[in-house]
């Protein structure tokens, strides 16, 4: 039960201009139906009194419910809930209607009314003296105080219902009910629906529209601003729209969600509704197409992507064609029946020839095709294997050359797992096989070579070993020989010593006087013995040199002194020779070497020169090569000379040019051989230049100081 209090009346009438009331009164009088009458009254109240949330309901004899005939600023939900039976006497609204005075429902007390939670006045509308109330005016108010204009309007309305309701058609019309139904329908529509005048002024809005275009009193500042913006946008849309020209206009309208703050895109459908009595209205339906727009964008994006993908696929396909054609190896794609569905250029050469080609070429192509088919059928039997490798014998159609190829096949399956194609790549094995053959040959040759090298190496090692042994044996033999020669020459000399001694004594008359023929014979014995001794001494020298047992006795001396000494020793021979023997020595550095051996060599060279020069001259000269640290002793003669082919031989053992037993010159034939050995021992050399019949030049070269050798 709601608490109802009497409305205290304000006696402040006259605050509003009488002209305004007069105008309303005139308008009301002119009103032809209760509905427009009530609406004008409420509009007036809102405009003049600022009471902008009002409604008028009447009791219609044809309906059990109170009928809403006009409202202003009342939330549509309230209107939709405004279903009150007239005969429900206990209903607070019905009771208020039946009261004589107005009733104020405080916000706390309005719970059982359609305006639950809202404070309002309810004024019964009844003609003076009438017992029954015709209806009631409800004005939302936050306090019990009543605006005088509201009372006035209530009075005006009280006078009229009877008159207006008495008009035929009205009383029995289901107007109110239809209106309620209409509200319900409109509210049930999820799209915001608005009824406005042509300027966009709101007349009716459903709940969804109200969310966009109306803010509750306790709404936030943002909400209010969003609502204000929406209203502005909507009015602008209507005013700029073609609504004025056409019956139905369709346009897009961007509004703000007052609660979320997000953009909402609506399609605005506006149409004019002409009413004979109430003028022109605009009905606007807003359809939220935010999602739609997004979906469209997405679709467009998908489409673009699709187009791009298609282009890419086309490019890819093109590239693939190029690649396949550029591969030197034949590539074929066959269907499961073995028929070729695609092949590249190299494959064409093997499996396709123009009909004009030779019979042989045609035959080869057929044979190739058969071989390929057989290979592919093998692939097909190997289910489950993605790759298959094999070798096929093909024939080059044009040349008829055998063409061994390696075939590598891959299967392409459909999404359902069925085999769609077999891709086969053929690789020419000719070269590989040839290489293999060559490689085998090479390997064989290499192995053969290695075997031979090993054999040769083994043989070489064997020979080396043999040589090494022989070398040792030879060294031993050589040492034995040297020892033997040394011993034998000693043994020779003991008896020779006696022969020479006794011959000498006989010749010197130690044993008495000897006859001239005896002297002659003894002289022969003596000279032959001496020759034998010289031979033995020379052999001993050579043996000692070769055995490395010839000691070196190094001293410092002047070469010129040595030459003079040699000259004086040979003086008797020189004198007998009748040759012009001269020395051309120049100042030489002191040398350090084995004086005795140098002397032996020079003596030998000079003796030879004297011996082999029948006439002319013999010269001893000296040279020095400071840079090389060498001195030279040159013995030059104008003798018989030595032919070139023999010049190297004269240094050999037992060599004289005339090797016959009756040779005209004495000597052991070992002199030059020993000289060269001695010169080499001293780090020097003996050189010879000679011309037959013109003479010879022997040059002994010696280092100034002994060299480590």
């Amino acid at each position: 039960m709601s608490v109802v209090t009497n409305t205290p009346l304000l006696s402040s009438a006259g605050v509003h201009s009488p002209e305004a009331r007069l105008a309303l009164a005139e308008a009301l009088l002119a009103a032809t139906d209760l509905q427009s009458f009530a609406r004008q009254a409420l509009d007036w109240l809102a405009y003049h009194a600022g009471v902008d949330q009002t409604l008028v309901a009447v009791a219609d004899p044809a309906s059990p419910n109170l009928l809403l005939i006009a409202d202003h600023g009342i939330p549509s939900q309230v209107l939709a809930d405004f279903v009150i039976r007239r005969d429900e006497a206990t209903h607070p609204i019905v009771r208020a209607m039946d009261r004589a005075e107005g009733t104020y429902f405080a916000a706390a007390a309005s719970r059982e009314t359609p305006l639950a939670g809202i404070g309002f006045h309810a004024f019964p509308l009844r003609q003076d003296g009438d017992a029954a109330s015709l209806g009631l005016l409800i004005a939302v108010a936050s306090s019990p105080e009543v605006h005088p204009d509201v009372l006035w309007v209530a009075r005006q309305l009280s006078r009229q219902p009877g008159r207006l309701m008495a008009r035929p058609g009205l009383a029995e019309s289901g107007f109110g009910q239809e209106r309620m139904l209409l509200y319900s329908i409109i509210n049930a529509v999820t799209d915001p629906i608005l009824l406005t005048d042509t300027e966009g002024k709101l007349i009716i809005a459903n709940t969804h529209a109200e969310k966009l275009f109306a803010a509750p009193e306790d709404a936030s500042e943002g909400w209010r601003r969003a609502v204000a913006l929406n209203n502005m946008l909507f009015s602008a849309a209507l005013s700029t729209s073609a609504v004025t020209q056409t019956d139905l206009a369709r346009r897009e309208l961007l509004l703000v969600d007052p609660l979320e703050g997000s953009d909402l895109l609506f399609e605005l459908l506006s149409s004019r509704a002409k009413d004979e009595r109430q003028g022109t209205y605009v009905v606007s339906i807003l359809r939220n197409i935010t999602d739609l727009a997004r979906a469209r964008e997405e679709i467009e994006e998908s489409y673009r992507t699709l187009r791009l993908a298609q282009a890419e696929v086309r490019d890819e396909r093109h590239r693939l064609d190029l690649i396949i054609d550029s591969v030197a190896d034949p590539i074929l794609v066959t269907d499961p029946e073995g028929d070729i569905v695609l092949m590249n250029e190299p494959a064409e050469r093997l499996f396709n020839v123009p009909v004009t080609a030779s019979e042989a070429a045609q035959r080869n192509v057929r044979a190739n095709g058969a071989n390929l088919t057989s290979f592919v059928s093998n692939v097909l039997t190997r289910t489950g294997e993605q790759r298959y490798r094999g070798e096929i014998q093909l024939t080059d159609p044009s040349s008829g050359r055998a063409l061994p190829v390696e075939a590598l096949a891959g299967t392409i399956l459909s999404e359902q797992g069925e085999l769609v194609w077999v891709v086969t790549i053929l690789h020419d094995l000719t070269e590989a096989l040839e290489k293999e053959v060559l490689y085998e040959r090479l390997k064989h040759a290499s192995a053969e070579l290695e075997r031979k090298v090993q054999e040769a190496t083994a043989e070489l090692a064997q020979q080396n070993e043999l040589l090494r042994r022989q070398h040792i044996e030879l060294e031993q033999a050589s040492a034995l020989k040297s020892q033997f020669l040394a011993n034998i020459s000693h043994e020779f000399r003991t008896p020779l010593n006696a022969i020479l001694g006794y011959t000498h004594m006989l010749l010197h008359g130690v044993t008495g006087a000897i006859s001239e023929p005896q002297r002659k014979s003894l002289t022969r014995i003596d000279s032959n013995s001496r020759h034998l001794l010289a031979l033995i001494n020379d052999i001993l020298d050579i043996t000692r040199i070769e055995a490395g047992r010839m000691p070196l006795n190094l001293t410092r001396f002047r070469v010129t002194d040595l030459v003079d000494e040699v000259m004086s020793e040979l003086e008797p021979i020189i004198r007998r020779s009748n040759l012009a023997v001269t020395t051309k020595t120049r100042s030489l550095p002191m040398v350090k070497t084995d004086r005795q051996k140098v002397k032996q060599v020079v003596l030998n060279l000079l003796s030879n020169a004297l011996k082999f020069t029948p006439s002319g001259s013999v010269t001893i000269a000296t040279t020095v090569d400071g840079k090389a640290g060498m001195v030279g002793i040159i013995v030059r003669d104008t003798g018989v000379g030595i032919p070139e082919e023999s010049q190297s031989k004269i240094f050999e053992d037992f060599r004289q040019l005339d090797n016959s037993p009756t040779r005209g010159y004495g000597g052991t034939g070992l002199g030059l051989s020993i000289c060269r050995r001695l010169a080499q021992m001293l780090g020097g050399s003996i050189e010879l230049t000679s011309r037959l019949g013109e003479g010879s030049v022997f040059t002994l070269r010696l280092p100034v100081r002994p060299r480590r050798r």
Partner: protein, 147 residues
Amino acid sequence: MGDTRNPLVLVVEDYQDAREMYAAYLQFSGYRVAEAANGLEALDKTRELMPDIILMDLALPKMDGWEATRRLKADEQTRHIPIVALTGHALAGHAEGARQAGCDAFVTKPCLPDALVTEIERMLSARRSETSGSRRGTRTQGKTKQT
């Protein structure tokens, strides 16, 4: 000839022909000669005869020339007697060995008798000049030999 005042040469040589040849020639050349055929004999003869000079072959039986030389040179009595080594082996080492053993000179075989006499003459004259006015006062008239 045979003059006791002539120098005494001890010829040590195992080869009889050579020994006698040298002896004959030395006597022919005016020396007194004693002979020994081996080292031991050489030692005995030296101590017995105290020769003026010894001609010593090195390769000797019983005691070789080196050993005999060493002993003679080790003996105060015989140290002063010059020894001329007579070697047939001209191979390296023989001359050095002879010198180390104490030989004063050496000649290589074959050596003609006159060459030997020349060497002996040289040695003796050198010794004479060294010991001029010595207690022995042995003098030999120099027998100049031609070359």
